[in-house]
Structures are given as structure tokens and as C-alpha cells.
Amino acid sequence: MKILIVEDEPKTGDYLRQGLSEAGFVTDLVRDGVDGLHQALHESYDLIVLDVMLPSLDGWRVLQSIRGAGKEMPILFLTARDGVNDRVKGLESGADDYLVKPFAFSELLARVRTLLRRGARTHEPDTLRVADLEVDLRRRRVMRGGRRIDLTAKEFALLELLTRRRGEVLPRSLIASQVWDMNFDSDSNVVEVAIRRLRAKVDDDFEPRLIRTVRGMGYVLEAEDAPR
């Protein structure tokens, strides 16, 4: 998967490139709008991360030109202002998602993956398996090590999200949004408590532990115990 990063702020650009490269993407980084547009039109990318405030040609114009040229790859734009106008303008210009600085890298990564997945939605099997955990999506049943585990509806939704996106670190805000439709930064540690309760049912009596806390970033469900 190849990603173009258009970002003029030197540190942000470098860290975005490093972070995305280490997450397994092939990345190109350009520092202004003209180069960004040129790269976007002449190379083939699966996704573009585009800053709005750019020298020489701003993000909106780059966005419009890319869409004008008939390129349909997802574009995630980054803005420093959380203004309604910026958002509307960006979405009308053809962006797929946007993030307001400062943002957590885990949040960006989760969104990049969501956008990439959107294009190629594969048919998921009815039952998801991670190690000895089985999540039966159709009958909404969970088995671990051959034992049936009873979950509430929300616990099931949470486990389903973690399992579907196994191996991905999911930030708390994303979990709150996807499972409970809470689309604001809630200041309490509700997600933490919910994860703890889910873990007590799914993980505590079993080996290996599947749900891990990635400090400062979020939660991930995966089989191998590789430290990050």
C-alpha cells in the first residue's frame, strides 16, 4: 500500500513518514502543494494525507485538481483549525476524512486503515477466529477454548470491532465512536472500564492474553505477544 504525504511542517512530515512506514506502508513525502499535485497525478497512490496549509498551492486547490483529474484515491486532510467551514469546504472539495491538529498518531493510523479498507471491502466470514477465540457474527456468539462466553450487546460489539481489526491499535475515541456512537472526546475512562470488563470475560481465564493495552495509544487484539 502506497501513501503520499503532503505536509510542509518539517517535524510533522518526518514523523508521519516514519510512523506510516513502520506501520507497513510505502510512503512518499513532499513539502509543498505543487510537488504534491505533481506526485499525485503522475504516480499511483492508494491514499493521500494532505495538509491544508501549504506553501505555493494550498490543500484545497491540490484536492480539487486531483479530483478534477479523475483520480479517486481516498484523501485524508489535516487541518489546524477545527472550524465548521474548513470541514465543509474539505468534504465538498472531495476529501474523504479529516483530522484536526493536534491528533494522536494512532488515530491517524486507524483512519488511514479505515479509508483503505473502504475501497476493497472483502467478504468477511461469518466467524472470526483469533487463536482459540471464535466470534460468530451471524449468531452473535463467542467461544473461547471451546467454552461459551456470555457477553452483553455492547461487549459483543466491542469484541467484534477488536476482532475485525485485529492487529490494529484502536484509539479510545474510535472505539467510543464505533461501539457507542459517542462522537466526542468524553472525558471519562468509560472505554477503559469497558475493556477491562470485556477482558475479564474473554481473557482472564485463558492463555494467551489477546486484548492488550498499548499505553497512550489504545487497544489491540492479537494472538502473538510481540511487544511494540
Binding site: 472550524g83 455492547k154 475485525r164 475515541s173 462522537n183 472526546d185 471519562s188 499505553r215 497512550g216
Partner: protein, 482 residues
């Protein structure tokens, strides 16, 4: 264009009014004097005319006629200002006295009406008449009499001059009086100006002394004082807010600096470095959240519009929130109850955020084994939502400030995980952006937050309000499950 000063304007009006009145009175007086003179002259002239007419009627023969000039001479002794001309129909002049040259027109018309004419420096008023004699067959004589009225004209000229002087002096006096009245009358305004001039961000405590202000200015003064009061309050909040903000930022930044400096002071293991980075990350998250909340509030203060207004089923929102907070509440042994229902227009995500803040706040302070209750009441005008929890009461002195940014009832809870103390401020901003009102009360071991949302769109006059909840919200919105 700049309006002329009130003082100048009033002085001018006074002066012009005085001049007009004096001019009018003067003109009237002059007219009266003139009429009086004319009347007197006419009386005298017609008296003399009658006298001479009487004299001539008694003349029966030509011989008697010869004696007439002598008789006239005698009659006119001591009347130096009187001119007389007597001639017969053949224009033979029988008698002429005085210095007047009678105009031909006067003699020919033989008009009984007095007429005035200028002759050199002298002014005459005269009349003429046809006067019959007692002689049979003799046509009537023409008699003309004139009075030298020069001194009348002189008097009137003097009167005129005096009038002009009076006019000028009067107008000037009135202008001065007007200026004085205006100056004195406007003194309270100048006092206001002095107070206003001394107003600055550091000095908002001065007020206008209203007890000494005239009735006309009391309202203005009261409005001015009210404005000062509001400004003082806003400034106080703003400066409190700035210092609170600085303080809030200082804590995490000093943590970051200290931690990083300590970590760098000697070589450490990778694990230790990782630990420092994690710890820093937590501080960064706090900072980022605080900044996001601050931006939200700033936008709310600048009156951004509520972007989406749709009918919001409050009971459904509360149920969803209860589902969300359920794990947290269960951990604390707290029950969550929702009663009633109601629908109000608004931005769903913002309203949810507002109620969510109240709910998480209530859960935090509710003792184990108790319940937080959310009650919804649909009234005619508004939907009233009440979030009530048993637990420690809020001291009364904190109640008015509880919605202020960074305000904490217990300052020692500063470092807890409950956020920066912006939750209730955000809730109030959202409610007010929807034209609603929020209140808090605490007593009898219970704390109760109550807010109303108007049921009619735009009813609160705040339609043009606030908030970006939808912005930060809908950035999540287009993340689909999957």
C-alpha cells in the same frame, strides 16, 4: 458629518430667538409711534383746515377777501412749523406762509388725506382741500396746509439706532445666557466623560454618581453603569480564565520538562526511555484534549451557528448515554435511571455531549449503592431535563461559578483523571447555543442540574449561536464500521 456642539447650538438659538423677538417688538413700537405721529399730524392739519375753511365761508364779498391774508397771519402766529398756501381757481395766491413747497399733485388732487414728502433735509406732511367762500359765483379756493415733521423723523431715526443697539446687546446677552445654560446643563455629561475616560481594563470599578444626575440623564447613566458592571464581570472572568489557563498549561508542561530532563541526565535502558515517552504521551494527551475543549468553547463564545438542527429524541439520547456509561457506573456501584421523554430541535451530537458531561459528572459524585436519575419533562414551550444525584453537596459559594471554565469545587482534585474542569462550561455553552437555560442547585444531600431546551426553533434568539460539536463529531461520523 459631525453635528455642531450643543452649547454652540443653544447659544445660537438663544441669540436668534432674542434678536427675532426684539426686532418684532421694535418694529411694532416703531409702527405705533409712526401711527401716533401721523394721527396727531392729521388731527392738527384737519383742525387748521377747518379753521381756515370757517374763516373763508364767512367771506361774503371780494373786499372781505382782501382782509383774509391778515386774518390768517394772525391765526398762524406761533405756528412756525406750519405752512399754508391759499389760492383761488385762477391760481392766484392769496396767502403763503412757512417753508413747504407743496407738490403739484397734492394741490391738484385736493386730497383730504395727509401726504408726506421730503424736501431737502426736511420732512413735511400736508393735505389740500377745495374750500368754498361765501361769495356767490366764486369757485372754491384751494387750500394746502403742511406740517414740518422733521423732528418726528429724527426721533424715529434715534429710535431705530437705539433699537439696533438693544437688539445686538440683547442677542449677545441671550447667547451668553444660552451658552451658560447649556454649559451648566451639560455638566453631568462632562462628569460622565471623566468617568468614562478613566475606565480601562484595570479600572472598571468607577460608577457615575446617579443621585446628582438630572432626570434626563438618569437613564443614560444607569445604562452606562450597567455596561460597566457587565464589562467588569467579563473582564474579571477573562482574566481569571487566562490565569487559570496558564496554570493548567504549566502543570503538564513542567511535568514534561522535568521528566525529560531527568531522563536525559544519564544513560538509561531502552525500557526506561520507553517509560518516559509513555508518560510524556499521557501529558500530551491531556494537553491536546484541553486545547480541543478550549477551541470548542472559543467557537461557542464567538457565536458560531448550531450547524444541524433536527428533532432530537432526548429519551433515546439519554438511553444511549446510559448504555455508554453503564460499565463505569456499575464499577462504582451506581444505578442510572431515565424517566419521561421529550423532543427538542437541536444538534444531536452536541446535545448528547452536554447531557453526557452532566451524567459523567453525576456518576463521579454518587456514593456506592445510590442512583443517578435523569428526568425529562416535555412542557408547552420547552423540554426540561433534570440530572439529579445524591452525594456531597456543592457549597453555595461555588454554585454561581460552577459553570465557569476550570472551576473546581475541590481544588485538591486537580490532578485527577476527570479532565480539565471544562465539562460543565462546555455543557452550558451547548445549552445556551440552543437557546436554553441551565441551572444548578444543591441541598438535602442531593445535587441537581436542570436545563431547558426550547421546543421551537429559533425561540431562544440564539439560533445564530455557537458550537462546533458537529465538527469534531462528524469527523468520526464518516468512519464506518469495518
Amino acid at each position: 458629518m459631525k453635528r455642531p456642539s450643543i452649547t454652540l447650538w443653544l447659544s445660537l438659538v438663544f441669540a436668534v430667538a432674542a434678536a427675532t423677538v426684539l426686532l418684532g417688538v421694535g418694529h411694532f413700537l416703531r409702527q405705533s409711534v409712526e401711527d401716533h405721529f401721523a394721527h396727531g399730524d392729521a388731527e392738527e392739519l384737519s383742525g387748521k383746515l377747518e379753521l381756515i375753511r370757517h374763516l373763508l365761508v364767512k367771506v361774503r364779498s371780494t373786499a372781505e377777501l382782501d382782509a383774509v391774508p391778515q386774518q390768517l397771519e394772525d391765526a398762524l402766529v406761533g405756528h412756525a412749523d406750519l405752512s399754508v398756501l391759499l389760492r383761488d381757481s385762477r391760481r392766484r395766491i392769496w396767502f403763503a406762509a412757512g417753508g413747504a413747497d407743496f407738490p403739484v399733485a397734492l394741490l391738484q388732487a385736493a386730497a383730504a388725506q395727509p401726504r408726506a414728502w421730503q424736501q431737502g433735509p426736511r420732512l413735511f406732511r400736508g393735505l389740500a382741500a377745495a374750500v368754498p367762500t361765501g361769495i356767490a359765483g366764486e369757485p372754491p379756493f384751494t387750500l394746502a396746509i403742511a406740517l414740518d415733521t422733521t423732528y418726528h423723523g429724527e426721533f424715529l431715526d434715534k429710535f431705530h439706532d437705539a433699537l439696533w443697539v438693544a437688539l445686538a446687546v440683547g442677542a449677545l446677552l441671550m447667547a451668553v445666557a444660552g451658552w451658560g445654560a447649556a454649559y451648566r446643563g451639560l455638566a453631568p455629561l462632562r462628569r460622565m466623560a471623566v468617568v468614562a475616560r478613566n475606565v480601562s481594563a484595570n479600572r472598571l470599578t468607577d460608577r457615575l454618581p446617579l443621585d446628582r444626575a438630572p432626570a434626563e440623564l438618569t437613564e443614560l447613566g444607569a445604562a452606562f453603569n450597567d455596561m460597566l458592571g457587565r464589562l467588569e464581570d467579563s473582564f474579571r472572568r477573562l482574566s481569571d480564565f487566562s490565569s487559570d489557563l496558564a496554570h493548567e498549561l504549566r502543570t503538564p508542561i513542567s511535568n514534561l520538562m522535568t521528566q525529560t530532563q531527568v531522563a536525559l541526565s544519564r544513560t538509561r535502558s531502552a525500557e526506561e526511555y520507553r517509560e518516559v515517552l509513555y508518560s510524556n504521551l499521557e501529558e500530551y494527551e491531556r494537553l491536546a484534549r484541553m486545547i480541543a475543549d478550549m477551541l470548542f468553547l472559543a467557537q461557542a463564545d464567538h457565536g458560531l451557528a448550531v450547524p444541524h438542527k433536527e428533532p432530537v429524541d432526548l429519551a433515546a439520547e439519554v438511553r444511549q448515554l446510559i448504555e455508554f456509561y453503564e460499565p463505569l457506573a456499575e464499577e462504582g456501584g451506581v444505578k442510572l435511571i431515565c424517566l419521561g421523554g421529550g423532543v427538542a430541535p437541536g444538534d444531536r451530537i452536541m446535545i448528547r455531549r452536554a447531557i453526557g458531561n452532566l451524567l459523567s459528572n453525576a456518576i463521579r459524585f454518587t456514593p456506592r449503592g445510590c442512583a443517578v436519575s435523569v428526568t425529562l419533562e416535555q412542557g408547552a414551550e420547552a423540554v426540561v431535563t433534570t440530572v439529579e444525584n445524591p452525594g456531597p453537596e456543592i457549597p453555595p459559594e461555588h454554585l454561581p461559578r460552577i459553570f465557569d471554565r476550570f472551576h473546581r469545587v475541590d481544588p485538591s482534585r486537580h490532578k485527577s483523571s476527570d479532565g480539565a474542569g471544562l465539562g460543565l462550561a462546555i455543557t452550558r455553552s451547548i445549552i445556551e447555543a440552543h437557546g436554553g437555560v441551565i441551572q444548578v442547585s444543591s441541598g438535602h444531600g442531593k445535587t441537581r442540574f436542570e436545563f431547558s431546551l426550547p421546543r421551537k426553533t429559533g425561540g431562544g434568539g440564539h439560533d445564530e449561536a455557537k458550537g462546533d460539536g458537529a465538527a469534531s463529531a462528524s469527523r468520526h461520523r464518516f468512519l464506518e464500521t469495518g
